[in-house]
Amino acid sequence: MRFAQKLTLTIVLLLCVTLSAGGAWNIQQNLNHALNTALQQDTALHQRECYMLEARIMQETGVGAVHQKIAESVKQYAEEMHAASGQESAAFAVFTREHGISLYSGMPSDIPYMAQYNAVQNGADSAQYVRTPQKEYLLLASPLHGTEEDVWMVSAYDVSPLFQERDRQVRQYLVLEVAALILAGGAAVGISLLLTRPLRHLEAASHSIAAGNYGSRVEITSKDEVGQLSQTFNTMADAVQNNMEALVEESQRQKRFVAAFTHELKTPMTAILGYADLLRSGEQPAPRRQKASNYIYHESARLEALSGALLQLLGLEHEQLKLVPTPMTQVLVEMQRSLPQLEVQLQVDCPQNAVVLAEHTLLADLLRNLVLNAAAASPARGRVAVRCGLQGEKWAVCVEDWGQGIPEEELDKILEPFYRVDKSRARKNGGNGLGLNLCAQIAQLHGSSLQIESRLGQGTTVTLLLKKGEKL
């Protein structure tokens, strides 16, 4: 069941309960009030009639008259009352209480004898109602003083107009209630649809997002709970969209990586296959055999280095480094030791007190790669400088060369795996295109990143900012 439908039916049902219960109570209260008023009036009237009848009996029969004389007197009195009022007969009866003997009855014929008898038995302080097929009556009984002790008068007062009025009110209220429910039901439908409109928009947006349209959003038209839900939904949709874009980006990056890796494998493998095929095809002249063997050896070595670098990259992805205060001079000495071929070109300038938070081996490896790249980009025996200095609250380590530089449009790609600015020269120098990507990941593990500034034909500076370590 739709929420709007539930809301509508609930409103209608609650309204129906309220109207019906309220109406029932109100109408019944009206009847009770009318009956009480009638009881008050009829009690006074009955009392007066008793006095009149008593006086009449006493006047005509004297005190303690026998039943027959009383009956005759009452009958005459009733006839006179009838003549005076024009009514068919006075609605009263006279009984002996003990034996229930009817001395006179001018009661409507449909009032049962037992009801009259019970009225007498219930006493002079009581009142009761009786319903006949046509009417409702109030019965009041009182003893007649001055007669024999057990002679009672029972009066019946027609209260059916009060019940008819009650029934009329019920019918009128039913019409009113139905009209109110129709109007309220219509209003409830409108209100429900209005209230649930933002929810329907949310539902539509959810379907749209599920269908792949991650840009779908809902319009926020209120500040209530539904408005807040819409806001939250939009925030969630933003997050989903961002994650999806990141996933797509990652997927594309992985595709590019696989493509590049495949390419990196395919080129040396093709050459290796070609030279191997040459060697197995028959006896070759010694220089050619030497060249083929060398080529196979070097390309295999490069593939091995590539595998090692890839393994290192994969290892870094899951690594949690423990950074400790490390003197930069120590790192730089280690780096220099691993690059004896660049001893002449490399200039290192670092204060003795430079202590950074780092993993010493990885940081040395990072600097080594940066220096190798710088040297590769420089002309033969070109100068490469490594400087270390304070920059705010951090130590900045810069690797600078004055080589060919990097085109501006390629700056944002050079950190991708297997990307090379000068592909032929890089491969010739034994580069596998993973060095800078490796450096970027090590920098990330140190809570930093590589800042690359380059001008074509003038050189490149790569800066790494490291957190200060306490003095050892």
């Binding site: 109408i27 019944q28 009392q47």
Partner: protein, 254 residues
Amino acid sequence: MKKQTIKNLVHTVAMLAMCLLLLALPAGYGRWSDTRLLHSVFARPQLEGVLDQQAQQIPVLYALYRKRYLEEEYHDYVDYSNSAEKQMQLQRMAEAVENLGISGVLPQTLAERLAQQLEKSEQVSVWRQTGGFVGSSAFVAKIGWQGSSCTIEQFEETGQVTHLVCPIEPWMEISPQEVMEHYRSYLGLLELKDWEWKNTANPNQAGMWSDQGQIYLYCNVEEPYQMLTLGAFSIDPEQFRTSYLEKSPAKALP
């Protein structure tokens, strides 16, 4: 989907059916209340001004009280002056006066002279009043100023005098207060304990009121005309306070 639609339809129909049932609630509640009403016995409301149960046991008091609710009617007026029953009617009047004398309401000499003169009276008429009262009037000579009528109203059931107008001799000293005291006893109203005097500046007038019995007793001695008026009537307490007590507040009997 189809199953869900059917389920929704069933729920909707069920709720609408519940609404229809609720629409019948006022009628149903009315029927249920009627059944309760018709099988119950209710206490009758207490009417204002109803005579106290103890007071109702005093016949003359109850008759006077009941008379308030009846239309004042005088009927069956008969002039017995030339009738064979004249003497019987005069005898009845004389007995009533003698009883007043015996009870001390009237001075014995007055009662005896009145009775004698009544028995000798030439004119007597009798009428009936609603509520069981009978009135009679006869001319009495040789008492008071050139003679006068004597009027008596009696409660038929007991013969007690509830209203008397009679002539008196100028030399008779009659104390209205004393008459009241004896008259109260004569009517059998001593059981009522809340009697109070109605203050009056005139020593020839006296009145007594009982809230419980809703009855007022009065006695006037009219010296210029040498007449005595004595009687009792029932009146609603509220009406009595408004009409009779405002000008002369009551004073409790010692």
